[in-house]
């Protein structure tokens, strides 16, 4: 389900119209004007990057790193090939926004990537798409064909000296490939295990060449920024949190779906847009930025605004903008058990602290959830977590530890009760 409210990517997109994703519909909405503007004016590359910088756009995949700054890291005078890569390997539980971009407005992403290719002097790009959304991959390939036929991709685009081509590559079931260097390994046809950094992809990326990787939503925001100006995008959000953002709301709300709203919108407003709590139940907890973000109690959440700074000040992170809402019927030990299983299942196995640690976290939480917890288990979880976080090549270990720390901090009484009484404090119901 897609519910779009007010934002730059889905402006004017009628998601109920079966052809809304096609190039004609996109161009009728003002699509490819930004690319034409750049090419007709022969705009200097650094001016394009400066415009993106001025928008305050921060990486929409989870880390929130300024997109324009990332683009400026690409070496200007590198003699060989350079690549631009899009990360549509959307597998962070709770996140489902990039799928809707591919299904309803893929040309915004294509145009954004062409502009990125122009700004950074790349000749080719790849979009790495989550294998589970295979139908979106097939549709994206069709959209690429449309763009190629219209002369926006290929040799000498619109009669200029700029040539750029773009291809789709699919994953096939590995959460870890959402990590950018694992994604590069996978794009090279290897198992998706993250690389040591440095070197960073801007100097040693795809096939060892300078590469910039951005999230789908980040690229799809670029045409608006170039067409209407970075300042306008910035003003749509709040300082240091420029623009509008897609929030994926799931869980116990009446209307789960994607909501594109200005950064800085109060959480209470977002919850209301999503139809409020299902069955009028009480809000218990919210994971505000995808399963790896620390959980926050419902009452804390009700006082926050949806932007990087507000959520971060409250001890969590905006992440990918995936908001998982839980009501009073959820046993927090059961909820954590399910997340712990996920990280155990998805650890790539490269680093010992993560490979072994995610297994230990799951086993201990599983036994607590099943009334077999032992005194000292919460300390054991702490100890295992401390031996994982920050001790591995990538952040998956940290992502596995954040939920454990935050669930056991904010809902400690439920864990203690279950360990002591061998039954849950809550009469647990998933839904």
């Amino acid at each position: 389900m897609a519910v779009f409210v007010n934002g730059v990517i889905f402006e004017g997109v009628d998601t109920h119209a079966p052809d809304c994703w096609r190039i004609d519909a996109y161009m009728a909405r003002g699509g490819y004007q930004a690319l034409k503007k750049i090419l007709e004016a022969n705009m200097p590359q650094e001016d394009v990057i400066a415009e993106v910088k001025s928008s305050g756009l921060r990486g929409r995949g989870g880390a929130g790193f300024p997109t324009g700054l990332k683009w400026s890291f690409m070496p200007r005078s590198f003699p060989g090939d350079k690549y631009v890569v899009c990360n549509t390997d959307e597998g962070e539980p709770g996140t489902f926004k990039d799928r809707d971009i591919l299904l309803y407005n893929p040309h915004a992403l294509i145009e954004g990537m062409i502009i990125a290719g122009y700004a950074m002097g790349c000749k080719a790009g790849y979009n790495y798409i989550h294998g589970e959304i295979f139908e979106a991959y097939e549709l994206f390939e069709e959209a690429l064909d449309e763009a190629r036929k219209a002369g926006f991709l290929g040799e000498k685009i619109l009669g200029t000296d700029f040539s750029f081509d773009l291809f789709a590559h699919h994953g096939y079931g590995a959460y870890i490939c959402g990590e950018e260097t694992a994604l590069l390994e996978s794009l090279e046809g290897k198992k998706g295990q993250p690389r040591f950094k440095p070197p960073f992809p801007a100097s040693f990326g795809l096939y060892g060449k300078p590469t910039t990787i951005n999230n789908t939503e980040s690229f799809a925001s670029v045409p608006f920024i170039i067409r209407d100006g970075g300042q306008k995008f910035l003003e749509a959000g709040k300082p240091n949190n420029g623009g509008t953002k897609l929030f994926s709301i799931s869980g116990h709300v009446n209307r789960p779906g994607n909501y594109e709203i200005p950064l800085g919108t109060p959480f209470a407003t977002l919850l209301e847009m999503a139809g409020g709590m299902k069955d009028g139940k009480k809000l218990k907890a919210v994971i505000p930025g995808g399963s790896s973000a620390p959980v926050l109690p419902g009452d804390v959440m009700m006082g926050l605004t949806m932007d990087y700074d507000s959520i971060s000040k409250a001890g969590s992170m905006l992440g990918s903008g995936a908001v998982i809402v839980m009501n009073e019927d959820v046993c927090m030990v059961k909820a954590l058990e399910r997340l712990a299983y996920f990280y155990h299942e998805e650890s790539c196995g490269q680093c010992t602290p993560c490979r072994e640690g995610t297994g230990w976290l799951y086993k201990v939480i599983h036994r607590i959830a099943n009334g077999e917890g032992r005194p000292g288990d919460l300390e054991l979880l702490d100890s295992v977590g401390n031996n994982m976080a920050g001790r591995t090549i990538c952040a998956l270990a940290d992502a596995a530890v954040f939920p454990v720390r935050s669930f056991t901090k904010h809902f400690r009484n439920e864990f203690e009760y279950l360990i002591e009484h061998k039954k849950s404090l809550v009469d647990h119901k998933w839904c």
């Binding site: 996140t95 990039d98 294998g131 590995a174 090279e188 046809g189 198992k191 779906g257």
Partner: protein, 166 residues
């Protein structure tokens, strides 16, 4: 070992990558091989990948067999074990569970008379529990044969879908 149609599809994938980077096409080439086997295999064992198919794909795209094997075994959507004619993967991760994912998995399990992870005795169905498919807003969701996503799978929707699978 693969049809001309599948080989043509692999050729199109190869064209996406630089001439010295054919290894990049391993993922899609294995997917194409698996899809052909699923569509044409008569038994569960004929519907999954095996060492011979993997070696054939590797030779076709010009990479060492072990490089293709690495890909086939790392990514969990490549079926390396016998699989039913209809492989049903239900997401039971937290966001889906909050919207009926676990209930959907249990309902299908009861209806087909097989537990999660099992294949029915007649080789028709395999039921699996999956991790995040990036479609939590549509929960409960399931993947049919890896590529077809089925959204809002209430018991009624499941009944209807299973009735279509003959």
């Amino acid at each position: 070992m693969l049809s001309a149609e599948s080989l043509a599809k692999i050729d199109r994938e190869l064209a996406k990558y630089p001439a010295d980077q054919f290894r990049s096409a391993a993922m899609s080439a294995l997917r194409i091989a698996l899809t052909e086997r699923r569509d044409t295999g008569a038994t569960p064992a004929e519907r999954c990948l095996n060492a011979d198919v993997i070696e054939f794909v590797a030779n076709y795209i010009g990479i060492p067999p072990v490089a293709a094997y690495e890909v086939a075994t790392f990514y969990n959507m490549y079926d390396m074990k016998p699989v039913g004619k209809y492989k049903i993967t239900v997401c039971t991760n937290l966001p889906c569970a909050l919207q009926g994912g676990v209930n959907a998995a249990q309902y299908i399990s009861g209806k087909l008379g097989i537990a999660l992870g099992e294949t029915s005795a007649d080789g028709k169905y395999t039921l699996l529990e999956g991790e995040c498919m990036g479609a939590c807003g549509d929960a409960p969701v399931l993947l049919l044969n890896n590529h077809k996503m089925c959204s809002f799978m209430t018991p009624e929707a499941i009944d209807k879908k299973l009735a279509e699978l003959e």
